[in-house]
């Protein structure tokens, strides 16, 4: 006789959910500060719904089936939001794994007369939930990474200082990626500083920019043009060897721009433009 596990579980949906909720609520790590019990119930119910729905369409053996896509999506949504709300991995993991306990106890009640079947079906359920656990962790970490990236972004935003390195010379070190929004900030503060300090040379240092693709290059070219429109000269420094080679292969033409390998050589160039000379003082 072939057993239809999906049907059995579908029939006992209410009990599964109750049991799962009970499992979650007794867990000492439950974070009522982050989510109310009602919200948790809604989230749990949603997941049980899509899971049981998917199980009726899918062969339990096949944990890679596309019928599981809605389950993965629901789980991804839940774990991303948990990562952003500040849940720990343990809390998020418990959420998924405590469902296993609930499903297994129901199976145990339903197939208690056939230990062989019970074992077989339990193993399948177990494997399925484990695979869901992996999805959960992957997305949880992705959620965390996004939080980190956003923070990095915010830090970058507030730390794009314009430095007066000499009378009439301002420098701006850029750290991190140069996307469109960032370019806007860079350009505005650089141009403002040129006005405020009546400088006629600006140095844009890109030592801290990890890669220069065609978009970043266009942003740099725009910034240089805008500086020139203000009557100042703009030097780009901090072109590392690997960046130089990449720019050449990519085919970007920076020949109209003064570029230097280091901030020091840019500064030296600025001095020569200002007809200044730096010399060792004569020994007395």
């Amino acid at each position: 006789m072939k057993l239809d596990t999906a049907k059995i579980l579908q029939k006992r949906k209410k009990q599964i959910l109750e049991l799962w909720m009970k499992n979650q609520l007794v867990d000492f790590s439950l974070r009522e500060d982050l989510m109310s019990n009602e919200e948790l119930t809604v989230q749990s119910e949603e997941l049980v719904d899509v899971l049981l729905q998917a199980l009726s369409d899918v062969n339990l053996d096949d944990i890679h089936s596309i019928a599981l896509t809605p389950v993965h999506e629901a789980l991804e949504g839940i774990s991303i939001s948990r990562a952003k709300q500040g849940y720990s991995p343990r809390e998020t993991g418990t959420f998924v794994f405590s469902l296993k306990d609930a499903l297994l106890s129901i199976l145990q009640q339903e197939i208690k007369n056939d230990p062989v079947q019970l074992l077989e079906e339990s193993l399948k359920i177990s494997k399925l939930i484990d695979s869901l656990g992996i999805v959960t962790f992957e997305t949880f970490i992705k959620g965390r990474e996004e939080v980190i990236l956003r923070q990095t972004d915010e830090i970058a935003e507030i730390s794009t200082p314009v430095i007066r390195v000499w009378d009439g010379v301002v420098a701006m070190p850029i750290i991190g990626t140069l996307d469109s929004a960032r370019t806007q900030v860079v350009m505005e503060s650089l141009l403002q500083e040129i006005v405020d300090t009546s400088s006629n040379i600006a140095i844009l240092d890109i030592s801290g920019v990890p890669a220069v693709d065609s978009l970043v290059a266009q942003h740099l070219i725009k910034t240089v043009s805008a500086t020139r429109l203000m009557g100042a000269e703009c030097i780009i420094s901090g072109i590392r060897p690997e960046i130089a080679q990449t720019i050449v292969h990519l085919g970007i033409d920076l020949s109209g721009i003064i570029t230097k390998a280091t901030l020091a050589s840019a500064l030296r160039h600025a001095y020569s433009l200002l007809q200044l000379e730096v010399r060792k003082s004569a020994v007395k």
């Binding site: 992705k142 990474e145 996004e146 990236l149 956003r150 990626t177 996307d179 990890p210 890669a211 220069v212 693709d213 065609s214 978009l215 290059a217 266009q218 060897p241 690997e242 960046i243 080679q245 990449t246 292969h249 990519l250 085919g251 970007i252």
Partner: protein, 136 residues
């Protein structure tokens, strides 16, 4: 060719690109790729992922470590279900752009990597596969 490990990343917004580039760098570092090749690979990948965002709205990037005849490499497959490219030969030319841009993304990416393969069907989407060998 044997695939040693892989990671599939969805790219639907700017932030995903940053995440993707970081992950790609981890893979390149893992096989001991030098800084110059790393930078070339990441820059090519940056162009292709931005094309997906710009012209197809979104897509996925599959990163794999592959085992070639003499050395390991990183292979990235960009797949999107966007409008596709009607004239691939033209799109691969320096300076061709329908987006009023430099038109360097596709030809530049090809020059930066060891192997480059593009398949596109109008109305169906585009798949581009690049491979950068460790010392390639």
């Amino acid at each position: 060719m044997i695939v040693l490990s892989s990671d599939n990343i969805r790219i639907a917004k700017e932030l995903d690109m940053v995440l993707f580039r970081n992950r790609l760098k981890e893979y390149a570092v893992k096989i001991g790729m030098g800084l110059v090749n790393q930078t070339k690979l990441i820059t090519a990948a940056s162009e292709l992922s931005r094309n997906m965002l710009r012209y197809a709205g979104e897509g996925t990037a599959l990163i794999e470590i592959v085992n070639g005849q003499r050395q390991n490499g990183v292979r990235v497959t960009f797949s999107d279900k966007g409008p596709g490219i009607s004239n691939i030969e033209q799109a691969m030319k320096d300076g061709f752009s329908t987006g009023k841009s430099l038109g360097l993304g596709l030809p530049g990416a090809k020059r930066l990597v060891s192997e480059f393969d593009i398949k596109s069907t109008v109305g169906k989407g585009t798949t581009i596969t690049i491979t950068k060998w460790k010392n390639g």
